[in-house]
């Protein structure tokens, strides 16, 4: 062990520690404040209590907004998965005229038309359709936004499924519908589960779309309610907000861990939202 080596090792650990602290410290608050008797914005060892949890559960809108989030996100996740599955199978297996151009167009769309770039026309459209304050309208907009990327991820997945399964089923005289239902669907299940979780997590965290399209507080999903509570401020909300943040984060983390442990983390080169 040369001195230079020792210095390098020390430097290495100092750097790792600094980066760890940078990532961990802002998160400490969500671990301590929910269970603290005098919750504030600072981080300190909590004076343990479950009073805040009770207050949050009693809050007129807290649980309600979670239900709204669930309604919006389950609708979105199911629609994205179903429509993307059908489209990606057709694009993977059938040589539709203009397919390559269509795929290229979809890929462009998924990154060009972002929520922020399209917020004005989407707001105007939903406003003129009279779908402001409709959870269904929010789910529709989110589904449209997530579909191009979902089709791409799923098409990669279907492309990797060997055609021999379908071929042998066909040799044994299975009909197209039977092949799709009994052969393709079971084989594609991991891909479908991944896409469903991906769509759910993305719509769960989406703030902009429901913030634009939902006005009344009893229809707001969790992401928007948090912002509403933040704007109101006050000491009551300091009891509610930490617990609510924690509860609101749990589904995302649990789903991520689930997909990660069952199917392994799949790196979908560049497609996030």
């Amino acid at each position: 062990m040369t001195p230079a080596y020792v210095v390098r090792r020390i430097g290495f650990y100092v750097l790792i520690c600094a980066i760890t602290v940078f990532f961990a410290v802002p998160m400490l608050w969500i671990a301590s404040a929910p269970f603290d008797k005098n919750p504030g914005l600072g981080v300190h060892w909590p004076d343990w209590t479950f009073e805040n949890v009770r207050k949050t559960l009693d809050h007129p809108y807290a649980l309600h907004s979670m239900v709204n989030s669930l309604i919006i996100c389950i609708t979105t996740a199911l629609a994205v998965t179903a429509f993307a599955a059908l489209a990606s199978y057709a694009l993977s297996r059938v040589r539709i005229p203009g397919r390559d151009a269509l795929l290229y167009g979809l890929l462009l769309l998924s990154s060009v038309v972002t929520g922020t770039a399209a917020m004005v026309p989407i707001f105007v459209m939903i406003y003129q359709l009279g779908l402001i304050d409709s959870r269904f309208g929010v789910a529709l907009v989110m589904t449209g936004g997530l579909l191009p990327a979902a089709i791409f991820i799923l098409k990669d997945f279907v492309d990797a499924v060997p055609k021999s399964y379908e071929e042998s089923a066909r040799v044994f005289g299975a009909s197209t519908l039977q092949i799709l239902r009994d052969v393709v669907l079971p084989v594609a299940r991991p891909g479908l589960a991944t896409i469903m979780v991906w769509a759910f997590v993305n719509s769960w965290g989406n703030f902009l779309v429901p913030f634009l399209l939902i006005r009344s507080i009893d229809l707001q999903p969790g992401a928007v309610l948090m912002q509403t509570l933040t704007d109101e401020g006050g000491s009551v909300n300091l009891q509610v907000l930490p617990v609510f943040s924690l509860l609101f984060s749990i589904p995302v983390v649990v789903l991520y861990l689930l997909v990660n442990s069952r199917y392994g983390f799949r790196f979908h080169g560049g497609i996030k939202s």
Binding site: F12, L15, I19, T20, F23, V25, P26, M27, W29, I30, G40, L41, G42, V43, A82, F83, A87, L91, R93, V94, I96, P97, D100, L103, Y104, L107, L108, L109, S111, G115, T116, A117, A118, M119, V120, P121, V124, M125, T143, G144, G145, L147, P148, F152, K163, E166, E167, R170, G205, F207, L212, A223, M226, Q227, S245, F248, V252, V253, F267, G270
Partner: protein, 297 residues
């Protein structure tokens, strides 16, 4: 990934073109209605004086390119462009890129436990809902009891008001580094270990190894990653959750500006014109990105 378009498509299940089009239809209808149509409609709204309220809300009239000439002379729009550039440069091109690469490079040889812990923390920062993350940082930067002031002993410093752009850059670096880290981790696996070994044998310094051996292998990844995270950062709406663009427009990036002009000011026509400019910028970056990806594939 997505550039492998050309492979023999074999219709093994006997779907047929007709039914295949039927399979495509629901997805295409939704995409047409909620992505393609809004994008095109932006062009139309952008040449009218459409407003949220008032006479122009009922009967908007065509104003030609007035909105665009107005944007040319709008000091607040210039301010938004400048702040967006700072935001992208500071948090994406420099922040996420360098921190992400550093993490990928040093975690390569770290113990599995250390590696997993650091990766889990960065990923957590990436997957948590944006409103939660924004509130964490609002608490962290708080003037009176915020953690940052406790650490530095600077109680009374209102970071989000005194240094809003610095806060946003730090926030977004924290938020998005996971993506660059993962991308560079997988890119680094393509660097042949034998070359790294021979660099070590001839006594090359760490910096020389990076510059002469590692960088040529991952140059393509650096370029595509930078384009992608820049595009996401320029379109990011989370600055609104931290500062709402304030104080006095000091952190009003283009997405926040569009929101404030459209929904606060009610000027839907003018904000559509600016949205269209953002769409054009996105299109340009995406075209370059896809071209680079294809060349690599």
């Amino acid at each position: 990934m997505a550039t492998r378009f050309k492979h023999p498509a074999q219709d093994v299940a006997g779907l047929g073109t007709g039914r295949a089009l039927g399979f495509l239809a629901p997805a295409m209808l939704l995409i047409a209605a909620f992505l393609v149509f809004p994008a095109i409609w932006t062009i139309y709204i952008g040449i009218t004086n459409y407003r949220l309220t008032g006479v122009e809300a009922v009967s908007p009239s065509m104003v030609g390119l007035t909105n665009y000439t107005r944007a040319l002379n709008d000091a607040l729009f210039h301010n938004a462009l400048w702040l967006t550039m700072l935001f992208v440069l500071g948090s994406a091109i420099v922040g996420q890129n360098i921190l992400g690469f550093t993490l990928a490079w040093i975690l390569r040889r770290a113990r599995p436990a250390v590696r997993r812990t650091v990766e889990a923390l960065t990923l957590l920062a990436w997957i948590l809902p944006s409103t939660v993350v924004a509130y964490l940082w609002v608490a962290f930067f708080d003037r009176d009891t915020g953690t940052l002031n406790s650490i530095l002993g600077t109680t009374g410093t209102a970071w989000l008001i005194d240094y809003p752009m610095v806060c946003l850059v730090v926030f977004n670096t924290w938020r998005g580094t996971a993506f660059s880290m993962m991308l560079y981790s997988s890119a680094l696996q393509a660097v042949p270990p034998s070359q790294l070994e021979s660099a070590r044998m001839v006594g090359a310094s760490g910096w020389q190894t990076l510059r002469d051996i590692v960088f040529p292998h991952i140059r393509g990844h650096v370029l595509t990653n930078t384009l992608l995270i820049s595009l996401w950062t320029a379109n990011d709406f989370s600055p609104f959750l931290l500062t709402k663009g304030g104080p006095n427009h000091e952190s009003e990036t283009v997405p926040v500006y569009i929101y404030n002009v459209a929904l606060q000011g009610g000027e839907l026509g003018y904000s559509s014109a600016i949205s269209f400019l953002l769409l054009l910028a996105n299109l340009l970056v995406s075209l370059i990105y896809l071209r680079l990806l294809r060349r690599r594939a």
